[in-house]
């Protein structure tokens, strides 16, 4: 049986993905995320987990240092890496939206958009026929309209609580997001049987 290296995003998605794998019948060690280890083995299943930043998962998978990975569709859309997108796991559901201070218009001369997702944002506004200036931030995007850095933000919304607490309102929904099972194109061919088996096992759980 081929060993599979799986890149897992640390944090929110991890919990749900871990649960899904266990439900699909995989025998995984309990303390997978507790430790500070970056590489964890699951010898019973011949799995090796790489615990990575969510934005880095498709990078590991594209370069083939991980055979498969679990990545949010937001990350996939932003990075546009050459990997197989095999299965919608249906977990970590949320969406990307534009938001800003209530009852405001965008600056007609230089509309500015703050975001962690510059590609998704510029694709969206270009699609609407609007030319905007993108300001790339790494976190606390909600700050930008509050302190006058940008007219709108483009960000992930799951419950809308963060927006509300910071006095922002949602303007447009851009795209729905769930986590995806992805695979390296070479691994997909060389370890085809194992990967397909995993897809089928997870598919049953993802639907349930």
């Amino acid at each position: 049986m081929d060993e599979l290296t799986i890149a897992m995003p640390k944090g929110r998605i991890f919990e749900e993905a871990y649960e899904l794998l266990v439900k699909a019948g995989y025998d995984l060690p309990k303390e997978l995320d507790d430790s500070r280890k970056l590489i964890v083995e699951a010898p019973n299943e011949r799995f090796r987990f790489i615990l990575a930043k969510p934005m880095d998962v498709p990078v590991y998978v594209e370069h083939g240092v991980a055979d498969i990975g679990i990545a949010g569709k937001d990350v996939m859309l932003e990075l546009d890496r050459s990997v197989h997108e095999l299965l919608d796991l249906g977990i970590s559901r949320c969406y990307i939206a534009t938001a800003g201070l209530p009852n405001t218009e965008m600056n007609p001369v230089t509309p500015r958009i703050a975001t962690k997702y510059p590609k998704i944002a510029s694709r969206f506004y270009r699609g609407k026929g609007e030319q905007v200036e993108i300001i790339e931030l790494n976190g606390s995007i909600e700050l930008a309209p509050m302190i006058g850095l940008a007219d709108r933000i483009v960000d992930i919304v799951s419950t809308g609580k963060t927006l509300k607490e910071n006095g922002l309102v949602e303007y447009e929904q851009i795209v729905d997001i769930t986590s995806r099972l992805i695979a390296n194109p070479v691994s997909y061919r060389l370890k085809q049987q194992r990967i397909r088996e995993l897809v089928e096992n997870l598919r049953k759980q993802a639907k349930a």
Binding site: E62, H63, G64, V65, S82, V83, H84, E85, L86, L87, D88, R180, N184, P185, V186, S187, R189, L190, Q192, R196
Partner: protein, 387 residues
């Protein structure tokens, strides 16, 4: 940005001696197999016109290195080898000698935007068989590429084969129009099975049809293709018949283990008109090379003939081929002023017998011990140590 003295332009690499040596071996092996199969090697210019090769090569515009010549014409550093060879083949010189078999080992240039692991200049080796539209030509190039991979000791080498024309016909049979087929193809090209399955439900109202459609991405043998072939459709039946013949030839060559027939496999290159294939091996996260039948490209050069070929990426082959751990015997002869003549005589004799010999004037070496450690054998000729 100030450029530091040690820096190279984005994506450019130096070939250090051990890599240069490995490449030379690879080149020698690869080209001798090509030549042994009747292919003549050729070299085309590094610079080509943007109007012709630049546009036809199907490499995205922002990946082309462009420059202007003294006449104001836009030139490109050649981004691929298939289109220059098609240009040569379409010339008067070779037109009368069809089918022609041409092989190459050349560097190509593609500007890179992203991080490391993506050289902007890399070598490719491959062949083009132009003027033969039979399946025997396709079989020949697939077997030739597989032979090269085998001879280079590529581990778990695998070839995935698809057929763009057959795929097109089958998608049409599902009742899709051309614009829908384009959407489906682009999902397949971007390897997005999730999108592909969504399309099945969106485009097909019949549930059993949708289920069959979804199954396209899991086909891995010609047996799996069979349910999709409409036997009453002459074109489909003929193409499928050819695939079976191809399979027989491949089996006879002992390669069947390493082949996956994936009906959903296709290419972003729109000039491929029939068979398409891609090569993989353990050790590289990226495909080793690809190829296919590109009658469409020849048409752009005004030649209505069949053509097929493959290209292998040397940079990726280097990743998958185990490096030689064993150091090659290399003799160092250290000489002094007095022993210079003797040293030359000895070196001459050793070299005649096939040894690799470095001659070095000993006093010119600052760190004698470190320098000597680079060789498998050191001979100090009389007087050399007092220098």
């Amino acid at each position: 940005m100030t450029i530091q003295m040690f820096e190279k332009p984005l994506g450019m690499r130096d070939d250090f001696p051990f890599i240069a040596k490995k490449k030379a071996e690879l080149r020698a092996k690869g080209t001798s197999i090509m030549q042994g199969s009747g292919y003549d090697l050729l070299q085309t210019p590094t610079l080509e016109y943007y109007e012709t090769i630049g546009k036809i090569s199907a490499i995205p515009d922002n990946a082309l290195f462009k420059l202007l010549d003294s006449q104001g014409e836009t030139l490109v550093l050649r981004p691929d080898m298939t289109s220059p060879i098609a240009r040569v083949a379409a010339s008067k010189l070779l037109k009368e000698k069809m089918p022609v078999r041409l092989g190459y080992y050349s560097n190509v240039f593609r500007a890179q935007k992203r991080e490391g692991g993506r050289p902007a200049e890399f070598e490719q080796m491959g062949v083009e068989l132009i003027g033969d539209d039979s399946l025997y030509a396709d079989a020949e190039v697939i077997i030739l590429a597989s032979t090269i991979l085998k001879e280079l000791n590529v581990e778990s080498g695998r070839v995935v084969i698809g057929h763009t024309q057959l795929l097109q016909l089958i998608l049409k049979d599902f009742g899709l129009d051309n614009s829908q087929i384009d959407i489906v193809r682009s999902a397949l090209v971007s390897k997005n099975s999730v999108r592909f399955e969504q399309l099945a439900t969106e485009l097909l109202d019949d549930a059993s049809k949708a289920a069959a459609f979804k199954g396209l991405v899991t086909t891995s043998s010609l047996e799996d293709w069979k349910p999709y072939i409409d036997a009453s459709n002459e074109e489909q039946a003929a193409l499928y018949g050819e695939m079976l013949k191809l399979q027989t030839i491949i089996q006879r060559n002992g390669l069947s283990e390493a082949i996956t027939y994936d009906l959903s496999f296709t290419s972003h290159m729109t000039y491929y008109t029939g068979l398409v294939f891609e090569f993989y091996g353990a050790g590289s996260g990226f495909p080793l090379g690809n190829g296919g039948r590109y009658d469409g490209l020849m048409k752009q050069f005004g030649l209505h003939v069949g053509a097929t070929g493959f290209g292998l990426r040397v940079d990726r082959l280097l990743e998958v081929i185990a490096p030689d751990r064993e150091a090659e015997p290399h003799i160092l002869i250290l000489f002094s002023e007095e022993t210079e003549e003797l040293a030359h005589e000895q070196a001459q004799e050793l070299r005649t017998n096939g040894s690799r010999v470095t001659l070095q004037y000993a006093p010119a070496v600052k760190a004698l011990e470190e320098f000597s450690a680079l060789f498998s054998e050191v001979r100090r000729l009389e007087g050399a140590t007092n220098g």
